[in-house]
Amino acid sequence: MPNKPGPKRPHGLPHVIQGTLRQKAWRAMQIKRKFTLADLVRNALAEEDAARDPHNNLRRYVKALTKVGVLHEMPRRAAPASPTSNGEKRWLLVRDLGRLAPVARMNGGVYDPNSEKTLVEIVGGAEASHAE
């Protein structure tokens, strides 16, 4: 049988990079507890950061965390800044997973590097469960 290139098996734990925009946003969520997307961008983005479209990046991150029950969307929005705006959505951090920022997976679910487990999407209001 010819040798195939590439890894033969998983290398172990998923590789988690810290110090990213999402890591900083996670830290901002832990500090603020209740926040809007603008709050996260303002706190997470440093002058020297060359983040491409941080709003979109963090919106997707917040959506992923909401799906697995880490965040909860609040019923009341923030006061609108203009007459035609409904106001920004607000979220509440309901499950503080720990110091390391959870990682949103491309194929759904969120990896928690603190517990080294994957949180799966809540279906029909059930609690988020852990999967190895």
Binding site: G19, R27, A28, Q30, I31, A38, N43, L45, G98, R99
Partner: protein, 247 residues
């Protein structure tokens, strides 16, 4: 409005205080105190610094005890918070020495109860581990901390947060607004807000709406009759009065 953190003169002074603490002569002087009246942006500035520097941020509560402080610190640090006070203290010490994570304590007023028992516990940590600790509170903490000489001597810098200056309001307008704001409107926002950043931002949002309609530079005359901000202290809105002819 751009979602940016603006480094006004208060933040610059705060950063200078941090640098002073980091380059201190006395190794045990690892503390920085930030104080000032409400509305000066203490919490916003400290939260931003904590996020950027990966600090552990704790908000002191009424009735906080040294034990509760240690448990909360352990939870935030992601280490086991159970066991005896001594075991918990040892675990926290090794964590803080190992990581060098700075500590931010907001609402420091609540750490001063019971002869500043919580601050004494924090001092135990910062003296041993030389961890940078940033405290934030209102003006009332200054004389209270001053009564405890052994704690007060640990402060490498004390930073007073003041109301935004005219230059700060100019900087806020330049960096946050998506339209150009004229000097007379900047002066008006500074005067009406009394230097409260939140009110200035409300005014910038109104100016931006006008600027987007007129697609030009927004001056005070363009805002005639507009409610620029609401002052909770006087419970009145700041509405731009019509200009006098020839003014």
């Amino acid at each position: 409005m751009k979602d940016l953190f603006v480094k006004t003169s208060n933040y610059v002074a705060f950063e200078a205080g941090i640098n002073k603490a980091l380059s201190r002569g006395a190794l045990e002087a690892t503390n920085v105190l930030v104080f000032g009246p409400p509305g000066t942006g203490k919490t916003e500035n400290i939260d931003y610094w904590a996020v950027q520097n990966d600090a552990i941020h704790l908000r002191a509560n009424e009735g906080w005890t040294p034990r509760q402080f240690m448990k909360e610190l352990a939870t935030k640090a992601g280490i086991d918070s159970t066991g005896s006070a001594h075991a918990l203290f040892e675990r926290l010490l090794s964590y803080m020495v190992g990581t060098g994570t700075p500590l931010v304590i907001d609402e420091v007023n609540f750490c001063l109860a019971d002869n500043a028992a919580v601050m004494e516990k924090i001092r135990d940590f910062s003296d041993r581990t030389e961890t940078l600790v940033v405290y934030a509170g209102d003006e009332r903490v200054i004389p209270k901390i001053g009564r405890h000489a052994q704690i007060a001597s640990r402060f490498a810098a004390v930073v007073e947060f003041k109301m935004a200056t005219l230059a700060d309001v100019r900087q806020l307008c330049d960096e946050l607004a998506e339209v150009q704001i004229a000097d007379d409107l900047v002066g008006y926002l500074h005067h009406q807000s009394g230097g409260r950043v939140r009110n200035v931002i409300d005014g910038i949002a109104v100016a931006e709406r006008i600027g987007k309609k007129t697609s030009g530079r927004v001056a005070l005359a363009d805002c005639e009759g507009m409610e620029m901000m609401f002052d909770w202290q006087t419970r009145r809105s700041a509405v731009v009065k019509p200009m006098r002819k020839g003014a």
